[in-house]
Amino acid sequence: MFKKSLVLLIVMLLVVTTLAGCGQKPAQQSGSEQQQQEQQPAAEAPKNILRMAIMSNPPKLDPVFATDTSSSRIIYQIFETLVDYDKDGNVQPLLAESWDISPDKKTYTFHLRKGVHFHKTIEGKPTANGGREVKADDWVWTFNYILNPDTASPRAYFLDMIKGYKDYQDKKTDHIAGISKVDDYTLKIEIDYPFAPFLSVLAYNTFNVLPKEDVEKYGKEQFNFHPVGTGPFKFEQWVQDDKIVLSKNEDYWKKDKDGNQLPYLDGLEFRIVTDLAMEWTEFGLGNFEQIEEVDDPYYADAKKLPGFQEGPTLGTYYYGFNLTKAPFKGNKALRQAFNYAIDRKGLIDMVRNGRALPATGVLPPGMMGYDESIQPQYTFDPEKAKALMKEAGYPNGLKVELVYNTSEGHKRIAEALQSQFKNVGIDVSLKNIDWGALLDATDKLEIPFFRMGWVADYPDPDNFLYVLLNSANIGPKGNYSGFNNKEFDDLTNQARVETDPAKRAELYKKAESIAREEAPWLFIYHYTTHSLTQPYVKNVVLPFFGEYSMKYTEVKMEK
């Protein structure tokens, strides 16, 4: 019996080890996977490596295909664009040292920084480009690659104003006409019409310079797993669902004001910790220098810590009214009634721990065109809401269903607002569906009342008012309410091509005023952003654009 049991045990062990071994065989065929499987010696306490807990495994490290903030966080460290934003959202030089704009505002000439090199090694091995210098040809190639219809970059259309975009998309030419090299360090981009936020769009982190040799070596699908850029950190390892490791780019072009080589850190390690309670717990244990998210239960404690920073960011949380469907179609009074019926401050304090700013319009504070005095101001005024309900033809109240995407946070907000609505006779029932289903339905303008939110792609009011409410964008491009207002369209179209900032601001103020008056949304709150680092982490600048866009070039640790 004993012998038989032993045999059985050995057989079972063999099965298990064989199965476990299965996982390692294919790994030997490819570099990164091999690394992923290799067991390393027991961890020593990392010295100059910043360890950060992030919530999810980024889908993409190839900037050409990334569309989400979890991917962007890593991409910001590996890749670089022509221009960048400073901490207040102004465009500043990055790989372009300076630029000239033609009098007709249709030609941009970028003077490229000298001495910028692609990463010489990644994953401990030489890259195909060999660490050569970035020149204008690389930018021409990169833009042609990103905008190539066969590449199918989901963000290519952000640059649809570049001359020749349509012909290139329709495959009438094999290159984009509007992008050309003047000399090795000068790049010219021509656009079809003056487009004020053009530089802001170029700072969007799809439009990073890429080394042709490495993109071609790995191909469109594998470059994602072997990203090569010019940024302060190089790619070293990506263990799916576990961690991403970056190391210092020793040849980075930037030095600090005292002439010291940047970055200061030897590397970054992003570990994926899906559970927010665990992130907080492990931060307390000193396992991380930074965590992505401080969940509500820990917010009060986190606020007392020296490494906690918080500030407004460019985003708006709202419930959309579908203006093509009853009961909101053609009923401005009803939409306004909803806006007067809710106590934003109370909601934010009770449900969001005070971590948001009340919204009474589309544009977030700090954005061009935002003005506190723009009317109407949707204060909490149940009496006015009731009066407007009467005017709207619902003196005895109405029933409506709110559809939101499944999430505990959205649910809490919806439930709080549900009870507030009840006070003015609005009976809101709640329905949750998942994000994909919500997008599908809102694209087709199927849902009368739905949750949505928007965080800026680039810090310009165009990215809010034009994208979310201009009738050209009804449907999947962003206008899920089906808002269609001629005057608003004219103003936002005009503001796109107007290059005088003062005139633009005026146009956007008028457009914002129309949006508030017409109330295509229930304006709820503007997002804030926060970061939490250990006290020995220095030079941490919380970007206005959201914590995910933080750069670690000048961050240092003083333990």
């Binding site: 259309y157 899906t274 994909g436």
Partner: protein, 308 residues
């Protein structure tokens, strides 16, 4: 024996195919377009169409199904919509973590469950018995996520015995807490089942005979009673081993372990159909395999069972 294995494996094919068909249909009828999710909130319709075409989502459903089945037969499960990694590769990368976790949990469950069950049966209605069965009820009823969180607070924060979540650089210490947490439920089930099975056996005539002929109590229990009591226990071990795979979803999530459970959650949220299908297919295969191994192990415990 070999004939039996072959017959069983052939018999499993329709089961696995049926599972694939159901999963394929379920994943395609739920609303939510993977291309749309991939493009993000603001999507250019032309780009969405292009991506749909690349993913093959623009083909009629029947064609997609036939393509999928054809490819599945050659172990080509397609590529993840999310990051273009092949599904087989995505599964294989995560398999070692899940196998280590499931195996360690089952070891914990057996090491804890079987002795508890034996002692409880031998000392029926003693304080030990009550204590062990209280533990068993607790183990079965306590939600995994709750036990996981509390155990982290105790062993990581208060006692500092375990460094934290994740897999570190592959050190075994990171698997201890998840394995214990995940092994708790099957351990409790095994304890209860071993107890009841033992109680039934030790009242039978042949045990009385064994005692009557003067065998030591230890030999009576361990050799005569346990061996006979183990058949139902082995069955439940087999089923629970496969069932652990559903437990790994929560455990891997809370302990941030990069295994198949996490992969399946991410895939579901992101409508990553090829990965969802791959995971389900893999799970179905494991269930079939676990059941087969259990059936094949019966003759070791009861020589009267033979497969010819």
């Amino acid at each position: 024996m070999l004939n039996y294995i072959i017959r069983r494996l052939i018999g499993a094919i329709p089961v696995v195919l049926g599972v694939i068909a159901v999963v394929f249909i379920l994943t395609t009828i739920v609303p939510g377009d993977p291309a749309r999710i991939m493009v993000g909130q603001r999507g250019d319709p032309a780009t969405i169409e292009k991506i749909r075409h690349e993913m093959g989502l623009d083909k009629p459903l029947a064609v997609q199904f036939v393509d999928f089945m054809k490819n599945a037969l050659t172990f080509n499960l397609g590529k993840s919509y999310r990051n273009n990694m092949t599904v087989v590769q995505a599964l294989l990368i995560r398999l070692p973590v899940t196998i280590k976790l499931a195996f360690a949990s089952m070891v914990v469950a057996i090491i804890v469950g079987v002795p508890l069950g034996i002692i409880s049966a031998v000392k029926q209605y003693s304080w030990f018995d009550y204590g062990a069965m209280f533990f068993a009820i607790l183990g079965i009823s306590a939600p995994v996520f709750w036990v996981a969180l509390l155990s982290v607070v105790l062993f990581c924060v208060i006692l500092g015995w375990i460094p934290g979540t994740g897999t570190g650089n592959g050190e075994w210490i990171y698997y201890v807490l998840p394995s214990v947490v995940l092994g708790l439920r099957p351990g409790a089930l095994i304890a209860r089942l071993t107890r009841s099975s033992m109680l039934e056996i030790i009242r039978q005539d042949f045990i009385r005979t064994a005692r009557a002929k003067g065998l030591a109590e230890k030999v009576v229990i361990m050799k005569h009673a346990l061996r006979n009591a183990l058949i139902p226990v082995v069955t439940i071990i087999g089923i629970e081993t496969a069932g652990l795979l559903s437990g790994v979803v929560v455990t891997e999530y809370i302990f941030s372990l990069p295994g198949i459970g996490r992969l399946s959650v991410e895939a579901l949220v992101n409508r990553d159909f090829p990965v969802i299908r791959g995971v389900v297919l893999f799970m179905a295969f494991l269930f079939v395999l676990a059941n087969l191994i259990v059936d094949l192990s019966y003759p070791f415990f009861d020589p009267r069972i033979k497969y010819d």
